[in-house]
Symmetry: C2
Subunit: 216 residues, 2 copies
DNA sequence: CGGGGTATGATCGTCTACGGTATTCCATCC
DNA sequence: GGATGGAATACCGTAGACGATCATACCCCG
């Protein structure tokens, strides 16, 4: 059992990240450091460290002497994020399916059922579970950089999913896709994992594009 | 002309990064924050922000309450870095060659000649020029995330190149490869760019692997 | 009435000083 | 010899201050 020791800046990083993702910190708005620090009950050093990390992650942008701003969303960025995901995630998940240990498979199963049961709560929760599911498919590959990258891209994509994808008919379809994908992964069917994940990502991108083309 | 306004933490980020890359901050060693801060003539606030960024970048790792450590190099990471570069950089450069403006092409030419003329100075300088050249081939694509990612991977790769690749016969071969690649890029020959860049990256990986297999 | 320069206020970026706390290491003791 | 305990070290976080810079509102002048 590994005891979890985390620095304050580390936890703030996640808190602020989630606030950005679910829109609590609105889009092009500046981040008032003193205000946010007192609101979180911390001082500015750990907050600024977290903000610096988030800029490196691509969620914030810093204008010197003017502060941090939530990175604006754009259709071009959607295309870019999903293009990168398409070239990285499917082969990574396919490989991971081959080398996953029993523990890995148990963990992935857990992530899948968590996503499954969360399917009817609010969109932000579903999005987090969805991210964790995608990561769980890749992590067993034990490729640290690749996994981090998949996570980062999933986080970036999540903003768009939360902001634009009303749980319309999409819910059901995504669920079916997830189940088929996960089954192939459990069966260690490399080709099928790669194919299904590719299609799944493309499907989500298509939904997003349709939404973005409409009223934004 | 864009006036350059940069925060201290931003510049420290680059300074420390270069110190890590050229081994001035040795491998598994801890970073003594107070010492480094006074050495750089700054206080710990901007330094800690820079360190947090560098951890996000993958060059450092933080152990809570014990401090930041330079991320150890490993053969597995080399493979991972180059696998990612292979799947991202060639298509990105090929695309960029198609849409590059005259300014972009001038800038790339400049980066190429800078790499060319620096070829006989010390290895660390060459490595930086090499990185800038690779970025200049991708940047005209105007895909922010992709360019950032290419840069990040180039930085991570650079540690290994500096540490392990003595400028043996490699120098000449890399130079030839660069010229051929750059010519294809200028001619907007998409296929050729992709092919040559792929081969170039694979060649470097092969060299690195050979070195790592030997006495490390 | 409009525009350019200026005053003002807010916020950021950085510094300094300080205290709490976790880790490490070493000496001591059973 | 291993466990206990304590001192030293360095990290982590707080608090407050200050100059620099940006944005805005104002004022003066044409």
């Amino acid at each position: 059992m590994s005891i979890v020791v985390r620095t304050l800046s580390d936890r703030v990083f996640e808190v602020v990240r989630e606030q950005i993702l679910n829109g609590k910190l609105p889009n092009g708005e500046p981040i008032r450091q003193d205000a946010l620090a007192t609101e979180l009950g911390i001082s500015k050093i750990p907050l600024r460290e977290a903000l610096a990390r988030l800029e490196q992650e691509g969620l914030l942008i810093n204008h010197p002497n003017r502060g941090y701003f939530v990175q604006a969303m754009s259709r071009e960025q959607v295309d870019e994020i999903y293009a990168l995901r398409l070239s990285i995630e499917p082969p990574a998940a396919a490989y991971a399916s081959q080398v996953a240990t029993d523990d890995d498979r148990a963990h992935a199963t857990q992530a899948f059922t968590a996503l499954d049961t969360a399917a009817h709560s609010n969109l932000a929760d579903v999005a987090v579970r969805n991210r964790e599911f995608h990561i769980a498919l890749v992590e067993p590959g034990r490729k640290v950089l690749t996994t981090q990258l998949v996570e980062r891209l999933a986080v970036l994509a999540e903003r768009y999913v939360i902001a634009h994808l009303a749980p319309a008919g999409r819910d059901a379809r995504a669920h079916i896709e997830h189940r088929a994908l996960f089954n192939a992964w459990l069966e260690r069917d490399k080709r099928k994992v790669e194919k299904l994940l590719k299609e799944h990502i493309q499907g989500t991108l298509k939904d997003l594009r349709a939404q973005l083309k409409n009223g934004d």
